[in-house]
Symmetry: none
Subunit: 212 residues, 4 copies
């Protein structure tokens, strides 16, 4: 390693990385492992059955380690919610989904979300359960509300063009989201699988319900 004095207080060090002690950063994979473990356990046993000791064991670490990454059980749970919601928003605002016609754009979004839920039922269930778990913190709730606002515009455009029923946007969203969630839940609960055709029929129901 070479040290060059620039001034009395400022130095330049040139060195190979491995010979320089990098401050050991908090392991970003650990936070994700904790997320995953906690989410799975919530689905298995509910929020009331979630124990930090179990999360630690499932994530392959000591209990104390959880508290390096999250201040408390509450914070952990709220953070999982927030991160999952952000993931969903990123998914639904993906520019790739935008297409020429409203119908195809709607279909793209519906399938994106439907497939996401089908692939990550634990995430969908977690988010659903969370809202009535008693763990939610208002600030987190509001933050998520804010993030979702841009998505409303899409449906408003559909209404303006006379393609979507003239109803409160929140009702339209509830209709679609509620149906998707319930279908996925039923699917998981009964161990069913949905082939492409079945998915398309589910989509048709969704479209039929909201189309003008």
């Amino acid at each position: 390693m070479i040290a060059i004095a620039v001034s009395e207080e400022i130095f330049i060090f040139v060195c190979k990385t491995e010979s320089f002690i990098m401050p050991k950063a908090k392991d970003p994979d650990k936070a994700k492992a904790i997320h995953r473990a906690a989410m799975m356990l919530v689905i298995e046993t509910g929020f009331s059955g979630l124990k930090m000791a179990d999360v630690a064991k499932e994530a392959g670490m000591a209990t104390g380690t959880l508290y390096i990454y999250y201040k408390s059980k509450d914070e952990l749970i709220n953070d999982i919610y927030l991160e999952t919601k952000k993931e969903i928003i990123a998914l639904l605002t993906n520019p790739n989904l935008v297409t020429e016609t409203f119908y195809t754009a709607y279909r793209n979004r519906w399938f994106a979300y439907f497939n996401y839920c089908l692939k990550n039922p634990e995430k969908m269930l977690f988010v659903e359960q969370f809202l009535y778990s008693g763990y939610i913190e208002e600030s987190i709730y509001n933050q998520v509300e804010e993030l979702f606002k841009p998505l409303n515009q899409f449906l408003l455009d559909g209404q303006k063009n006379g393609l979507v029923k003239q109803l409160d946007i929140e009702i339209l969203k509830a209709q679609m989201e509620g149906a998707i969630h319930e279908i996925i839940k039923m699917t998981v609960k009964r161990g069913k699988t949905l082939d492409a055709e079945l998915k398309h029929e589910c989509f048709n129901m969704a479209w039929d319900s909201v189309k003008q």
Copy 2:
């Protein structure tokens, strides 16, 4: 209550009747009061926040009294679920709902359930949350499944007559139930009220989604 010592062993107590526990016969209303209290508290604080002491307080009795009516917290919660589900089944199999055409019969049933949820959101929410609370006992779950089977016939008839989409009955039910629940939840959360017209539009969405 005022206590006046007449002698070392004899006291006079002056009190309002309700603050003096008169020995009385087993109160059949108590079980219902416990139900109501527990359900409200689950909605407010989630299953993880439900404490027997709070249930007792909310129901206006001592903790010990709860255990006269229910063997345990688990049993209490499962019983609430079972009773609520029975109430819903009774509602949906009410002979008054049967009418000439499939459409009107469907409409009657949809409105019956929708209005029930709107009037008793705590019951609907309790039932929804319960399934993933970790409290559910398999025997109770199976019992409820059994009770609901007769209702499927109604939709099967609709399909036979070409009025309802040719889809797995469970998917159809999930579509309808999920949408209703989500709309009600949104309504409650945002403090909205639904007038007759709005309800009808919600029904239209439901009908559009399942009709052939």
Copy 3:
């Protein structure tokens, strides 16, 4: 038991005490047992070694029971302090201690406190340790300060009559209290006993130090 209706809502009940279910009151002896146990353990192991489980065991009850009487460990410790300080104040403001001359009154007070400390070294030690334990709550501290103020007047009178050195009252009190505590601590630590004569010589030191 005889019940006499005074009005529709007010009743008079006359009964032998044992035939009337008295609401089971929190046992006042338990609170004292907890005090005693906690105090002893603090002296033995210091505040840092005080464990609620040990307090419970020493007091002959379950851990949970402690929390019926005290909201937290902090509150328990602060309450012990407050109660002990109140006891000391009651002792020092006992009208029996007042006598004709300032000297005899001072002597009475000094001996009252010295003997109290000698008989209850654990209380004295607890109070001494407490102030720097990190457990003290400001409100409790202020409350005690307030209660002690009346005692200052006694020394002020001594100064007015030219019997006591003209020094800040707080310094005079510190001189006396510090000396007493340290002598008692030494006595306890070394397992010494103080006979009447020795006590009197200790008093003479105290008096010599403050007298004009």
Copy 4:
């Protein structure tokens, strides 16, 4: 600190010297920094509130570093006690304090200790608290006892010459030490300052209490 990648393996770091850990010989000041930090924190938060992580932070180093200088928290605390006591003994056995008359020698010693406590209240408080903290190790306690013995001779000489009250030496020491500590504690607690005159009056109290 700024890191600039020159290649995949070579980096340039620009930083203020103090934020870059230069490999250096074992720093003899570190043990003292740890002492100071621990002592301050004990005074602020008591022994029960002393955390090794806080000591490290206060001393400007990592937790692990503490364990290079001290085997354990216990050892650290006991070492602080021992070192402080040694410092006090060195102070009181300073040959400069010896003078012609017993009175002036006594006065010199009293002022030396009083001023030491006034200047280092944290040390005095630490030592006071330590004895009842539950951390003390018997070997350390005995070692300190042994070191203090020579000081007794001084008072014994005073008694032989009829200048000091004929009382157990330990009682005399307790009287003096207790008074000094309590006056200093009061001073610190109330934010008072003691001028030369006031100090002298404190000394007079001390002298009056022990003089024959």
